[in-house]
């Protein structure tokens, strides 16, 4: 079983020849393109840490298909312990990269499709699950990073996929052939797409009978003919072309390096098709995938919080204000917010369950609560980080001006802090806080894995509101409660009649 190192992963990308466009030009080499490199480094960390004895306990797993050690990012969760370790892996990688390391989307795609294909086969007698297991084995053997392509471009959202003026607003089957299908459509903001070995597609929403051709899941190599990537812009993205410090996180970038994926009459052989028209399983696939993915955010974003909390404390020390009570209070607030999200992510894993396929899934209610908290709390702890760091995070001069022979030194010295904190280091840290708290990471926390409204729909659906109403009726005395009756030793009605009588008689003692 191959388990690539970070460097081997980067080299493995050279064997691929995907068609990628950015700034109106075709990118010749993914690996050598400076705009892509930070994202590639972040993904490479998911490979590299699996080889470090200090981290392998959570970075690796045992394949349930062949019993061999694999990178956990290719594993289908076989226990509650696997779900918990997956969360620990997310936090660890957030800590080590300070950004999105991209590989969790494919992991969740593998698990979501695994669970759903089993259920489709149970109902329709199809053989999707067997096909998928064969594919999974390939992923594990080659230690591939597949991107998870769920979100479609979606066009006019008041219309169903089959009603769209431009059918390519949703990925769909154009033609069914004896040996496969021809697909067309656009998937939007796909994380890690340009530096993945494979693409796993999934439907983006519940489909109806009319949307049959849009109920679709398959996997293809990233450089399949007819697939084009258009790399997305991010806040301050081209700073990485101008120097090192201004980029803030020059090693790993900001968020995941998203891209549009255009499928233009792409052929997919049947052995790589895992759903083709079973519209009644689209809800399940979306919900299972989203459940896994939303749970992750309580891991990875908390890892980022660890970095920004550390950075904020360091800046407070460098500025000589770390002992000020308001700073201590703010840092404590950040920690409490982050650990609240961490608690949610652990809870949804510990409360997970075994699906009919044998794979384990997180608790969907708690996973959605986790992500809903992330859509708010990341903004809050980043707001506090900005507060502590001060206005310099948005007004610092450029790196090039710091190098000016006439006044560069003067600027640098004027930013000196406490003894032992070199001014250039202070500037680096401020740029990192700017990168993490001002950039694309915030809306990513809002919309990644689904927007808040999507989480609220799932939470409402699983709230058990009827049971809660019964609980309230018990307490309010609308319902009679057997345990209360046992405590008082009689029927509730009799008891309250008794109480009323004693109140009238002004006898306080009831028993």
């Amino acid at each position: 079983m191959t388990m690539m190192t970070g460097k081997e992963y980067i080299e493995s990308l050279r064997a691929l020849n995907p068609e990628i466009y950015f700034f109106g030009k075709k990118v010749k080499s993914i690996v050598d393109e400076p705009m892509f490199q930070p994202h590639i480094h972040a993904a490479a960390m998911t490979y590299e840490l699996a080889h470090d004895p200090e981290y392998e306990e959570i970075m690796t797993a045992t394949s349930h298909l062949i019993g061999e050690k694999i990178n956990r990012f290719t594993h289908v969760h076989q226990s509650i312990d696997d779900l918990v370790k997956k969360q620990r892996m997310m936090r660890l990688l957030g800590q080590k990269t300070g950004t999105c390391f991209q590989r969790c989307v494919g992991l969740d795609g593998l698990n979501g499709v695994y669970v759903t294909t089993y259920d489709i086969d149970q109902k329709y007698g199809t053989n999707y699950h067997k096909r998928f297991k064969e594919y999974l084995l390939e992923v594990q053997k080659n230690d591939w990073m597949p991107s998870g392509a769920m979100t479609d471009a979606r066009g006019d959202r008041s219309l169903r996929p089959s009603e769209q003026k431009y059918p390519d607003a949703y990925l769909h089957i154009k033609e069914r052939l004896e040996d496969g299908i021809i697909v067309s459509g656009v998937k939007a903001h796909i994380t890690g797409a340009i530096n993945s070995h494979e693409i796993i597609t999934m439907p983006t929403r519940t489909m109806s009978k009319e949307d049959r051709d849009f109920a679709l899941s398959f996997a293809i190599p990233a450089d399949t003919k007819g697939v084009t990537y258009v790399f997305s812009r991010q806040t301050n993205d081209t700073r990485r072309l101008n120097g090192i410090i201004d980029a803030g996180n020059p090693k790993y970038g900001i968020v995941g390096g998203e891209a549009l994926i255009l499928f233009n009459d792409v052929f997919v052989p049947w052995e790589r098709v895992f759903m083709a028209g079973e519209y009644d399983f689209t809800t399940e696939l979306v919900e299972v995938f989203a459940g896994y993915h939303r749970s992750n955010y309580g891991g990875c974003k908390v890892g980022l919080a660890d970095v920004v909390i550390g950075g904020s404390n360091w800046i407070a020390e460098a500025h000589g204000i770390s002992k000020a009570s308001h700073i201590v209070d703010k840092l404590t607030e950040m920690i409490a917010l982050a650990e609240t999200c961490w608690s949610c992510s652990l809870a949804c894993s510990y409360e997970g369950y075994k699906t009919p396929s044998g794979a384990y899934h997180i608790n969907p209610l708690l996973a959605n609560v986790t992500k809903l908290n992330i859509t708010r709390m990341v903004y809050e702890w980043m707001r506090v980080a900005q507060d502590i760091a001060g206005g310099k995070i948005i007004t610092l001069p450029t790196e090039k001006d710091l190098e000016n022979p006439d006044f560069g030194k003067m600027i640098e010295e004027s930013f000196s802090g406490k003894e032992g904190y070199p001014p250039l280091d202070i500037i680096k840290m401020l740029r990192l806080i700017e990168n993490m708290s001002v950039g694309a990471g915030l809306p990513e926390s809002m919309h990644g894995a689904g927007s808040p409204a999507a989480q609220k729909i799932m939470i409402a659906r699983r709230s058990g509101i009827d049971i809660k109403m019964e609980l309230a009726k018990d307490i309010a005395g609308i319902n009679q409660n057997k345990h209360f009756e046992r405590i008082i030793g009689k029927d509730e009605k009799m008891h309250w009649d008794d109480v009323k009588k004693r109140i009238k008689e002004k006898t306080i003692q009831i028993y």
Binding site: D119, E351, Y353, K354, P356, N363, R462, G464, I467, E470
Partner: protein, 111 residues
């Protein structure tokens, strides 16, 4: 008489009304003229075990699986019975099918 060892989870955040599931089951079995004794005492010998878990996490399964028991077990876990998804309203018929299957394979039971 068929004896069913009835085990309830703690019911901290149930997705189903656990008491109703058992109540409806008892009523349905009486209607079918099937004599079944539901036993909650864990020390007593029973023919099969019925786990009533309020949610799909199924706390009771962990305990049951680690006990090493060879007894047949039916596990209700939220809107699932064993490894099958069922709506809450269909839990009853699924349970009856499973109990009848066991009864027909192993019966008759004397009182």
């Amino acid at each position: 008489m068929l004896s069913i060892g009835l085990r309830y989870c703690g019911g901290c955040n149930p997705q189903i009304d656990r008491s109703r599931v058992v109540r409806d089951l008892k009523k349905a079995l009486i209607k079918m003229d099937l004599r079944v004794d539901f036993i909650t005492d864990k020390e007593r010998t029973v023919d099969i075990i019925l786990l009533i878990n309020g949610c799909i996490h199924a706390c009771l399964e962990e305990e049951y699986l680690s006990s090493g028991s060879n007894l047949q077990c039916i596990s209700v876990k939220g809107e699932m019975v064993d490894s099958q998804y069922v709506e809450e309203d269909h839990i009853l018929e699924t349970l009856i099918k499973k109990i009848m299957g066991f009864y027909n394979r192993s019966g008759p039971y004397s009182s």
